[in-house]
């Protein structure tokens, strides 16, 4: 659309676009204000006063730390599994042509395309049929399944840009398969994998719908928050945790965007 250069957008369009973006961002910013409010019982606005005491209170809450620790462990292991599975699948799909290739990309995307509740209840009923008790690993099983797709998307986009002749050149120069992978393929896809891994981590860290079906009595951070939303016990602590969660998920996203910003803008598209 080269011919548009220098053309000005109509005022109405500018206002509508700006309002839309404000609609998307103001609610999240509000969380940051509420984390400092002195009000304990209600969501009154404007806050009657500002304080940082709730950060200290939250810091000393063992249940928050337990939930955080479980979430981080689940996210780390799910991300590791998703990295291995997603990269393998991306490499196979993008480097070779074979029967059923399309079906494989559909299979990878399916867990995220169907509503989370379907994945959740499906896993729940499979556990029930197979008599598998809820544990740390049942959570990981669910999370890794839908994290594969983000790693896969990022890796496929990078493989598409990486020329196959580099691998051939490496082989011609006498490197064996492992050396080629270590010195040629890996450096090329490393940032895409890092970005995919970060997004997978953020996705797992934030997931609640599938987790409610696979966690049993265990509490991850989102489940802790959900409990607080349904049966509020101490609102200021929830405010602080909400702010921390925003920061914890935002930083990996920004970093992933930074890693993949030129060329393949795939990082977040299609959560």
């Amino acid at each position: 659309m080269r011919s548009d250069r220098g053309q000005r957008a109509p005022l109405g369009l500018k206002i509508a676009a700006a309002c839309g973006l404000l609609f998307l961002h103001l609610p999240i910013l509000l969380i940051f204000v509420y984390a400092f409010t002195t009000e304990e019982k209600s969501f009154v606005w404007p806050p009657p006063g500002l304080t940082t005491q709730w950060f200290a209170v939250t810091w000393n809450r063992p249940d928050v730390w337990d939930a955080l620790s479980l979430s981080v462990r689940v996210a780390a292991i799910s991300t590791a599994i998703a990295l291995v599975l997603g990269t393998l699948c991306a490499a196979a799909v993008s480097q070779t042509r074979f029967f059923g290739r399309e079906a494989i990309s559909l299979l990878v995307i399916l867990p995220i395309a169907l509503p989370g509740i379907i994945t959740g209840i499906a896993l729940r009923s499979a556990f029930a049929l197979a008599d598998i008790p809820f544990s740390f690993w049942t959570i990981v099983l669910g999370h890794a399944t839908f994290c594969v797709v983000v790693v896969y998307n990022n890796a496929v986009a990078r493989f598409r840009r990486t020329s196959g002749s580099m691998i051939e050149a490496s082989m011609d120069l006498g490197a064996d398969g492992f050396q080629t992978f270590r010195h040629v393929v890996l450096p090329n896809i490393a940032t895409a994998l890092l970005a995919g891994g970060m997004l997978a981590f953020a996705l797992s860290f934030d997931e609640v719908i599938v987790t409610t079906f696979t966690a049993g009595q265990q509490q991850t951070v989102p489940i802790w928050m959900l409990e607080e939303l349904i049966r509020p016990r101490q609102r200021p602590v929830t405010n602080v945790v909400a702010m921390v969660v925003v920061l914890v998920t935002l930083l990996p996203i920004l970093f992933a965007y930074y890693l993949t910003r030129d060329g393949d803008q795939i990082a977040g598209s299609g959560k």
Binding site: R2, S3, R8, A9, P10, L13, G20, L21, L24, H25, P27, I28, L30, F43, V44, W45, I81, L85, G86, C89, A92, T96, L107, L110, A113, L114, P115, I117, I118, I121, A122, R124, S125, A126, A128, L129, A130, L141, V148, D176, G177, F178, D206, V208, I209, P222, M225, L229, I230, V245, V246, T249, L250, I253, L254, Y257, Q265, A267, G268, K271
Partner: protein
């Protein structure tokens, strides 16, 4: 002398294999690419096939079981009784309510998303383009629960929205709206209006991205040609821009529609006590312990989405994803 020494010991044209197990494996991969392919595909396919497809079949199988109403135990024999239970008036109400909400949310998201996507695709350049991209991506990826929580803060009776309307002397408008029969309620956070706003907010980025992708592909000179030929901006929008953006809108609507159909957390936290499909599934499998009926309920969104995807594919929406 030195030349002779080099010549007497030339580097071999073909290097010897690196030997050992590693070398043997590497050679095997090279000679039999199919073997390597199988080895690469096996772990992800086994995982997704067993964990995911296996679970989906387990779910489907459960929907053909039934629950013994007296003992509460699940009877593992094939029956269509559960599907009979599904089509009771109360359950049909739930399905109708959910589908209506999903359709309204989809429509509203499309209307709000279009200007953002159009501006980003046609006018934003360089730094602004990146800003728009991040401006959509950050809300998309921020925590789902925190977004809902933020709206609970906003819509609460003592919250910021009431305060803002009071400052603008518009409280009568809010009260009038809340006194309406279906969409109203005690406060916005316990009304269908609240549920609707939060659904639109949470799924909006999923609509913006594909619409923007579709609009990026519309050549700017098409719009100029339309106005050169005497079309008003409204006519250009109706006859040129909108038809070309439609596949993108349909692609986005797949997400907004499907996600609304399956969600059970938003209507539980911000909404009335009347159930949506997701909540029905959740309460059937949890408190009621009736997994067969819960499974049958989930088949509803799967079937609806199956038809939806089939229609979307015919409209060419998948090219815009």
């Amino acid at each position: 002398m030195t030349i002779a020494a080099v010549q007497s010991n030339p580097a071999p044209a073909i290097l010897p294999g690196s030997g050992g197990l590693r070398g043997a494996l590497s050679d095997l991969f090279w000679r039999r690419p199919k073997f390597l392919l199988t080895l690469m595909l096996a772990p992800p396919l086994l995982w997704l096939g067993i964990v995911y497809i296996g679970s989906l079949f387990a779910l489907l199988a459960q929907s053909f079981f039934s629950i013994d109403e007296f003992s509460g135990l699940i009877n593992r024999e094939f029956t269509l009784k559960t599907y009979g239970d599904l089509f009771q008036a109360a359950n049909l109400d739930i399905i109708l309510r959910t589908v209506t909400m999903a359709a309204l949310v989809t429509l509203a998201s499309a209307v709000i998303a279009f200007p953002i996507a159009y501006y980003a695709a046609r006018y934003a350049r360089g730094r602004w383009k990146a800003l728009f991209y991040l401006g959509v991506m950050l809300p998309l990826w921020s925590s789902y629960l925190v977004k809902i929580y933020a709206w609970k803060l906003i819509l609460a009776k003592e919250g910021i929205l009431t305060w803002l309307l009071a400052k603008l002397n518009l409280l009568w408008l809010l009260d009038a709206w809340l006194s309406l029969p279906v969409v109203g309620g005690n406060s916005l956070s316990v009304s269908f209006t609240g549920t609707f706003i939060v659904f639109v907010y949470v799924w909006l980025p999923f609509m913006i991205l594909p619409v923007q992708a579709a609009l990026e592909r519309v050549p700017g000179n098409l719009v100029e040609a339309s106005s050169d030929l005497g079309a008003s901006p409204g006519q250009t929008f109706r006859n040129v821009l909108f038809p070309l953006a439609l596949p993108g809108i349909v692609a986005g609507s797949i997400f907004t529609f499907s996600l609304t159909l399956g969600d059970y957390i938003i209507p539980q936290i911000i909404g009335t006590s009347r159930l949506f499909i997701g909540q029905a599934v959740y309460s059937q499998q949890g408190t009621a312990g009736n997994i067969p009926l819960a499974a049958a309920f989930t088949v509803v969104p799967i079937v609806i989405m199956g038809f939806y995807l089939w229609g979307a594919k015919r409209m060419g929406a998948f090219d815009a994803l």
